[in-house]
């Protein structure tokens, strides 16, 4: 009896979680701008997986808010992204997952560091890269693990 109860409760929890994760966006929830950009999806929108809907809706909102210059820059970055080897893109996606679990303070600190890095002249950036390359594989791995091992500091509430 106890075992049955556990199975039933477990199933309910699993189904509940699945429903919670699969909550999609209805076409009517999209803004007019998003609908305009995603017009050719209007008939098939409801059949798209929820995570694809989310990416498309976010992408459409970002595209709508961009200036022509920003659009050109984003298209150039997209070209660069597509040109990366598949393994490198996968690694970046994994890092995005880890980064998403960091606390807002940690994200802010890393973004600030990156801002400083971007503002450095080529020579200084190269000096940093060279120094990083001089690390032993063990040291580099430890640095990567340093990020990976951080425990999430907030609930998973990402998009």
């Amino acid at each position: 009896m106890k075992a049955k109860l556990i199975i039933v409760l477990g199933t309910l929890l699993f189904v509940g979680a699945a429903f919670a994760d699969n909550h999609g966006l209805s076409w009517n929830e999209l803004s007019a701008d998003q609908q305009a950009v995603l017009g050719h999806f209007s008939d098939t929108w409801d059949s798209l997986p929820a995570n694809r809907q989310q990416r498309l809706a976010t992408g459409a909102a970002r595209w709508s808010a961009m200036t022509p210059e920003q659009r050109q820059q984003a298209e150039a970055r997209f070209g660069e992204w597509r040109g990366l080897p598949a393994e490198r893109r996968e690694l970046i996606r994994e890092r995005a997952e880890i980064f998403g679990d960091l606390s807002p303070e940690e994200k802010r600190r890393i973004r600030e560091n990156y801002g400083r890095y971007r503002q450095m002249d080529k020579q200084r950036r190269q000096a940093l890269k060279d120094r990083y390359r001089r690390m032993t594989p063990e040291q580099r791995q430890r640095l990567r693990d340093h990020l990976r091992e951080r425990p999430p500091k907030r609930p998973r509430d990402r998009k």
Binding site: T58, W81, A96, F99, N113, Q123, H146
Partner: protein, 79 residues
């Protein structure tokens, strides 16, 4: 005008009209792959550039850029 010639002229006119409409018309919406790419990042699609360099950027907090000519001695005591 013979029928095949007439068809050719009509086709040419149609193509010209389509091209003119495309040039004069609004910008076509981006394709789905590009939109998904734009939407997959937390803040902006520039995020992937940060993530690509994140181990390096993370390292910056412990040791700011090496002044020119100076050799690095960092990371030996990392834990």
């Amino acid at each position: 005008m013979a029928s095949p010639e007439r068809h050719a002229v009509l086709l040419a006119c149609g193509l010209c009209l389509c091209a003119a409409a495309a040039i004069a018309g609004e910008e076509l919406p981006p394709d789905a792959e590009f939109l998904e790419y734009l939407g997959m990042w937390e803040e902006t699609d520039e995020d992937w550039l940060l993530l690509d360099e994140i181990t390096l950027v993370e390292n910056m907090e412990r040791s700011d850029p090496v002044p020119e000519g100076e050799e690095s001695t960092e990371t030996e005591n990392e834990s």
